[in-house]
Symmetry: C2
Subunit: 301 residues, 2 copies
């Protein structure tokens, strides 16, 4: 892996912090990094506003992801998601609250404008953790989450990409991890999946312990080759190690090494209960951002 990036002390130390990521992978030719930079900054601002107002880590992580879902074509989530091979959009998202390890996740949905809000509805309103398809959409609908026609999510840009040859890896999954003023942690992840995937394929993003995790010790959100992240159990592995006393930076780096060992690529962001943040990723780029109370937000695209 190249360019591991870790925010250690002196910046850490107890205050609220939010870190966000978009997808690891190669930056598209002709990509407008400035637009992505603005999108990341605005997502951080939404989350920071929640935290500065005394909001919870879960609300802040959700706010950052919901913002990125609504940024058309900048990220592979919500409107502008990567298209399945049949030209449809199937999205997935997960949220997890560290304090009680409550979780909600949705997959194979096509009618919810901001899938992370559907995941939150599953956490809040259902006895279940993971719901797929129409059942997931029904939970969101009952909770008053905004819907959209499936055509809303399909953009000309993604239609064009689907026709391109080459890798199916879209690499724009978004996520957020957060520590709030009370020291509690949360994670949120949202994705449009792999470009050209079969409808019904579910990757790591909505799977608790694969692409998303939060407990009392660490919150994690991942992006990359979803199948390999599932087979490594990346997010749960990091949490187990942090629970055993390994630093969040060392745990995250070792988990990404395990992904590498199975031929996978990607990246992740994680924050521990002390506010330490790590954002390692494999070669290429992983647009990401970091905000701490009392400091300027920083983004890397």
């Amino acid at each position: 892996m190249s360019t591991p990036m870790s925010s250690q002390s002196p910046s850490a130390g107890g205050g609220p912090v939010i870190a966000i990521h978009a997808g690891a992978g190669r930056v598209p030719v002709g990509d407008d990094g400035e637009e992505r930079r603005q999108g990341l900054l605005a997502a951080l601002e939404d989350a920071a506003a929640v935290l500065s107002g005394g909001g919870s880590a879960l609300d802040a992580a959700q706010a950052a992801v919901a913002h990125m879902e609504d940024r058309v074509d900048l990220f592979n989530a919500g409107r502008g998601s990567a298209l399945c091979g049949d030209g449809t959009v199937e999205m997935a998202a997960a949220v997890m609250r560290g304090a009680d390890q409550a979780a909600g996740a949705v997959a194979a949905i096509g009618r919810i404008r901001q899938p992370v809000l559907a995941a939150r509805a599953v956490l809040d309103e259902s006895p279940h953790v993971l719901m797929v398809g129409a059942a997931a959409e029904a939970v969101a609908r009952r909770a008053g989450v905004a819907e959209a026609d499936p055509s809303y999510f399909i953009t000309d840009r993604q239609r064009g990409r689907l026709r391109e040859a080459g890798s199916m890896f879209e690499g724009g999954t978004v996520g957020a991890v957060c520590r709030d003023a009370a020291g509690e942690l949360a994670a949120a992840t949202s994705t449009g999946g792999m470009r050209g995937q079969a409808p019904g394929r579910i990757g790591d993003s909505p799977l608790i312990g694969a692409g998303t995790w939060a407990d009392g010790g660490v919150a994690v959100s991942c992006t990359g080759d979803g199948e390999v992240f599932i087979r490594v159990g990346v997010a749960r592995l990091i949490a187990a190690w942090v629970g055993a006393g390994v630093s969040v930076a060392d745990a995250a780096a070792a988990a990404l090494d395990a992904v590498d060992g199975l031929g996978g690529h990607g990246g992740l962001i994680a924050v521990d209960s002390a506010g330490e943040v790590t954002m390692p990723f494999h070669d290429g780029a992983m647009p990401r951002g970091l905000w701490r109370a009392g400091q300027l937000a920083a983004v890397w695209v």
Copy 2:
């Protein structure tokens, strides 16, 4: 937790071994334990035949689960699965091979006679790990896995149970963990889900790292309150600890304690690379069986 059960030395020590479970929970009033005992023994025999013929751990674990799926009304998997609230059957299954952490899983399927074979088809024939619904059935169909009409899976016994008041917890998920003659590990799990669940709800069984796991150090299959097993990441947690040098019995017991800590109940079976087996479960019963090369099979119902 009561009745932790661990098969330590002298029985362990290098030969092939297969352990199987049905669902943890209360034994139904009027239950015929003898029929269940015969079903478990026959499932062990099928797996033992694979192992004795030099077959792989994955093939053996799959054989045991496929047998239990075809035992009508004895177990909550395949024909006789618990019914969703709308009277339909939705099944899920997963397989994982320890040697390369390859995995396949299916969920929300209703047309595949033995769902574990669909999970195996996803492992063998698709680039993905988890497929749901019609897409999962299509992968199985292309691989030649036997189908059945959705009505095939619905039994009068389960229709009656759906009308009963009380807990939705069906508790008949089945699974197998295996160590073959080459020392390689595998796990397989299959379930009909929770009685009365919403179609589209996915529990821990098909989720790699929640209800099912295998790597070079340990193979795990779980049964119980699926949502809590997901929120604990039970199977991946055990594997992380075993990887760090904790005994499989201690790791499994501690992971079940974590389930207990979140108000969940259930059990699991696990085998490590040395052939040590542990089968802890919470109060009630967990029908289970164990076979080692050169020894008589043992079952507990």
